[in-house]
Amino acid sequence: MSLLRKLMVLGRGRRGADGKRSRRSEETSRGSGLGEREIPARIDSIEAEIKSLFGERNSDVIMRRVDLWTCPEVHGLLFYIEGLTDRATINAFGLEALMHGERGPVTSPLPRDPKLLVELIISHLLPAGQVSAVDDLNKVVEKVLTGEAALFIQDTRQAILFEAKGWEHRTVGEPSTEKTLRGPRESFTEVLRTNTALVRRRLKTPDLRFDGTRVGVRSKTDVVVVYIEGITDPQLVEEVKMRIASIDTDIAGDSGIIEEFIEDSPASPFPQMQYTERPDRFCAGISEGLVGIIVDTSPFALMAPANLPTFFQSAEDFYDRFPFAGTLRSLRYVAGLLALTFPAFYVAIATHHQEMLPTSLALAIAGSHLSVPFPTIVEALLMELALELIRESAVRMPDPVGQTMGFVGALLLGDAAVSAGLVSPIMVIVVAVTGLASFSIPHYSVSLAVRLLRFPLLLLASWTGLFGLTAGLVAIVLHLSGLTSLGVPYLQPLLHTGDLFKDVLWRAPVFKHRLRPGFPRPQDRVRQGSSNRQWARDDQDKEEGADGENRVRE
C-alpha cells in the first residue's frame, strides 16, 4: 500500500508542483496511471530506488544480484515478488540460464553498447516466452506486481521483463452455488486467465472478444468485458465499457462491487445483472448476445442485460429433457410467487376474510390458534424472522454443519414453539412451505429480494387484507415495469406473449429455439438453421409414402 502511495507521490511530483489542482481532476488522475521514471544506470542505485518504493522490510520483494556467466563483469539484478512468480520458472529461466549456461559463449567479449547487450541477452540468454525490454521503472514495478520478473543490467538503463506468473490458486472445481444433477461440473476460479480459458474452450470462435481494462486505483483489478462480435449489440458493449470506465474507486475486489457500480437502479431489491460461476451458463448467455464481465479474483462472472425470467432459469433447464425441464421451470415461478405471497395471503385470509375458508379448516385454524397469545401478524413475523435467522446462520456454518443446523434448527424451533404455545402449527406449515419455495428460486439474489419484500406484504396484508396484498403486488409489478437493465426493460420477455412458452414460463425443445431471445437486441437473431431434425421429418414422409403405397397395393 505504501508503495503505491509513494509511486503516486512520485508520479505527481514529476508532473510538477501544481498541488492546488481541483479534487475532481486529482481523482481522475488516480485512475490514469503514473508518469514515467528513468531507470538508474547503476545496480546499487536501482536497488536503492526499489527499496525506497517498497520499503526496506518487504520480505516478498526479492532482489537477487547476478553476474552473467559468459562474462562476469556484466552485473545484473533480478527483481521479482515471491508468491506471484513461479519458483521453477525463475530458477530455470532467470538464474540457471544466466548463471549456469552450458553452451559456449556467443560473442566474446560482449558488446559495450547497452542496447545491443540487452538484445543479445534477450535473444540468447533468456529462454522465456514473453520477454520485453522496458526503460521505465514505474512500468517495471507495475509489471512485477502482476507476476513478471525483471532483470536489470548495469549501465544499460533498461530492464528485461519476462513472464514468470505462477501464484497459488484454487483449481477449477465444482460449482458450489449452482449445483446441477446433469451438466458440466466446472466452475470459474479466482484467476482471470483460467476463467477466460474456460470460456474460450466453450466458444471456439475468433469473434469472441475479451476487452480488458483495469478497475481500482489500488487493487488494479483486471476486468474483462466479454462479447461476441457480430452477435452482441455494440451499443450494449459500449454502454458496459463506458460504465466500467467511469468507476473510480480504490479497490474492486469482486464482481459484486463492479455490479453495484454499474447497474441501473442500485436501490431496487431486484438484481439487474445475473452472476454465475458456471462457464457453461456464462457461455450460453454470451452466445445469446449478452455482455459478460469477468473480474479477476472473483469466481462469479456477470452477465447483462438481465430480466426477471432469467433469474428463474437454472443451468439444468437445458440439460434435462424438455418436458421435465419446462415443467420444473413453471414450478419455479409458482414457487417464487408462493415465497413472496404465501404468508401474507394466509394472514390476509385468517384476519380479514375468514368466510373464504371451508368451515372445517377455519375451525381447525381457529382451534390451533386458541392458545397462541399473539395476534396472527405478530406470530407470522416472529416465525419469518426465526426462519431468516436459521437460514443466515446456516449459511455461515461449514457445509455439513450448516445443512444439519438448518434442518435441526427449523424442526426444533418449530416444534418447541408449537408445544410452548407460541405459534400455531398451521403457521409453522405456512412458514415452512414459504421457506421451501424460496429455496427453489435458482438465483440467490432474487431469492433475497423475495425474502425482503415478503415483510412489507405481510404488514399490508394484516392491515387491509387481500386488498393490501393486491396493492403491494401491483406496486412490485409497477416497480419491475419501471426497472431496466442496461436500458432494457426488466419485464420484457414476459410481455412478448409469443415467446412466453418458448423460453420464459416454459422451455420448448432445444431445436425449436431457432432465434435468439430479442431482449438484448442481438445483431444476428438466427441461432439455428431450420434443417434440424430434418431426418425425423424425412422418415415420417417416407413412412407415409410407404403407407400410401401399401394402401394402393391393397
Partner: protein, 424 residues
C-alpha cells in the same frame, strides 16, 4: 432512482399515516370469530322474532374433526337484526355469518312472511348466498339442537341438501333463490322442508297433501351410517313449502315436490318404489337417472296478453330410469315388457305431476314451477308487463297438459331375479 426512492418514502409516510389514523388496522384473529354454521328464525306468539344461532366452537387437534362442538344461542327481538344484536352483545366473539350453511325457518314465520327477515341477511356482505334455506313444521330449536354422529345440525342438513342438490328428493333452495323468486312474478319460491322423523308418526306434511305414499319419499333420512340409529333422531327432507311471494301458503308432499322439482330443473336422480299391481305385491325400485321438462306455449297465447287466460300449456317430461329392485314374477325380458314398464312408470309420474298441479293451481294458487317465467322469457316485454301483476290468478286458469315419457336404460348387474326353481 432518486425519483422512486423519494416516492417510496412518500408511500411509506402515507402508510404510516394511515396506520395512525385508522387505529392500527382491523384485523380479527381467527379465534375471536364466532363461526355461525346454522341460523334459525321463527316468530313467537307475541309477534316477536326468535333467532337461533348455531355457533361452532373452534376445535383443537385431530379429535375435534370427528366431533364438532357447537353452541346453540337463542334470543328474541322485535326484528331479526334486533335479535342478532342481542346475541352479539352476549357473545365474546365476533359473530360472522360467513359460514352459515343452513337457514331453518319456522313454519309460523314462513306463513307470516319472510320479507323482513331476509332483509338483514341480504345486506350482510359475508353471508354465503348459497346457504340452504329450509322450512320446518317442527320447533326450530329441536331441529337445530339435534346433532348426528358429532356433526352439528347445520352442517348435517347442509350435507343432506348438498347431496340432494341435483336430485328430486328436495328442491334445491338456496337463500339467493328464495330472494330472487320472492321478487320475480313468474316463479314462486319452493323451499325444502326439513322435519324430525318421529317413530310414532309417519313423516308427513303439515299442510296440503300428506297422502298415501309419502313414506317412500323420506329417502334421505340417515343413510350412509352403517350403525343402527334411533330413527327418532333423524332429519327428514320430505316435501317442500310452497310460497306465494314471501309468504308460505302450504306444503307439497314428497311425491308432489319431486314432480315440481323435475319440471323446475334438470335432475340427476330420483328414487322411488313403483307399485306394479293394485294390491301392492309386485313393485319395482326405480331410479330416475335424469329427467327434464320442456314447456311449450301456443303462439297465440304469447302474442296476445288477453289470450293467456285459460291457455293450454304443454309440459313434456322426458327422462331415463334404471331398475334397482324388481319384486315381480314377470321379469320384463321382452321389448313389449319394457315398453309396458316405461308406460307404467310414466303414468305414475304423470299422476304425481297432475296431483302436484292440482295442489298448486287450485288449492294454493302459486306458480312454483315457473310457468310464468317461461311466459316472460318468450313473450314481448309489453305483453308480460300487462299480465305479470295478475299472474297468480292467470296461472290458476291455465290448462296445463302433462306428457311424461320415460325410458328404461339400466337393469343393474343381474338380468333376472333369483328363481325358486332350482332346475333352471
Amino acid at each position: 432512482m432518486t425519483r422512486w426512492l423519494s416516492l417510496s418514502c412518500l408511500g411509506l409516510v402515507l402508510v404510516c399515516l394511515g396506520l395512525v389514523v385508522s387505529g392500527c388496522g382491523t384485523a380479527v384473529d381467527m379465534e375471536d370469530v364466532g363461526f355461525v354454521v346454522a341460523l334459525g328464525v321463527d316468530s313467537e306468539d307475541d309477534g316477536k322474532v326468535r333467532l337461533w344461532l348455531e355457533v361452532a366452537e373452534p376445535g383443537m387437534g385431530v379429535e375435534s374433526l370427528a366431533k364438532q362442538e357447537t353452541l346453540l344461542a337463542s334470543t328474541e327481538g322485535d326484528t331479526l337484526y334486533d335479535a342478532f344484536i342481542k346475541l352479539e352483545t352476549r357473545s365474546s366473539r365476533n359473530l360472522t355469518l360467513g359460514h352459515v350453511r343452513t337457514i331453518v325457518i319456522g313454519e309460523r314465520l314462513a306463513r307470516a312472511g319472510l320479507r323482513q327477515a331476509v332483509d338483514a341477511l341480504m345486506r350482510d356482505a359475508t353471508l354465503r348466498l348459497k346457504a340452504w334455506v329450509l322450512v320446518t313444521p317442527d320447533p326450530v330449536e329441536e331441529v337445530l339442537s339435534l346433532s348426528i354422529a358429532g356433526q352439528p345440525a347445520g352442517m348435517f342438513i347442509g350435507s343432506l341438501m348438498q347431496r340432494e342438490a341435483q336430485r328430486a328428493g328436495a328442491p334445491s333452495s338456496r337463500i339467493v333463490d328464495l330472494v330472487t323468486h320472492i321478487e320475480e312474478r313468474g316463479v314462486q319460491p319452493l323451499i325444502a322442508r326439513v322435519g324430525l322423523a318421529r317413530e310414532s308418526e309417519s313423516a308427513g306434511g303439515g299442510g296440503g297433501g300428506a297422502e298415501g305414499g309419502a313414506a317412500q319419499g323420506s329417502a334421505s333420512g340417515g343413510d350412509g351410517s352403517g350403525t343402527s340409529m334411533n330413527l327418532s333422531d333423524m332429519f327428514v327432507l320430505n316435501g317442500a313449502a310452497v310460497f306465494k311471494g314471501d309468504k308460505m301458503v302450504g306444503w307439497l308432499d314428497a311425491r308432489q315436490s319431486a314432480a315440481a322439482v323435475i319440471i323446475n330443473s334438470r335432475i340427476q336422480g330420483y328414487e322411488f318404489i313403483h307399485k306394479l299391481s293394485a294390491d301392492g305385491d309386485e313393485s319395482i325400485g326405480v331410479n330416475l337417472m335424469s329427467a327434464h321438462a320442456e314447456v311449450s306455449i301456443p303462439r297465440e297465447c304469447l302474442a296476445d296478453a288477453e289470450k293467456v287466460e285459460g291457455c293450454t300449456v304443454e309440459v313434456k317430461v322426458n327422462g331415463l330410469w334404471g331398475m334397482r329392485e324388481l319384486i315381480s314374477d314377470d321379469q320384463f325380458m321382452t321389448e313389449e315388457g319394457v315398453v309396458a314398464l316405461n308406460k307404467s312408470i310414466s303414468v305414475r309420474l304423470k299422476r304425481d305431476t297432475d296431483d302436484m298441479l292440482r295442489v298448486i293451481q287450485t288449492e294454493l294458487g302459486s306458480d312454483v314451477i315457473g310457468i310464468g317465467e317461461v311466459f316472460r322469457q318468450r313473450m314481448a316485454h309489453s305483453n308480460w308487463k300487462k299480465i305479470s301483476g295478475e299472474w297468480d290468478t292467470l296461472f290458476q286458469s291455465l290448462n296445463i297438459k302433462v306428457i311424461v315419457n320415460v325410458a328404461g336404460r339400466r337393469r343393474g348387474q343381474i338380468l333376472r331375479s333369483l328363481s325358486e326353481d332350482k332346475a333352471i
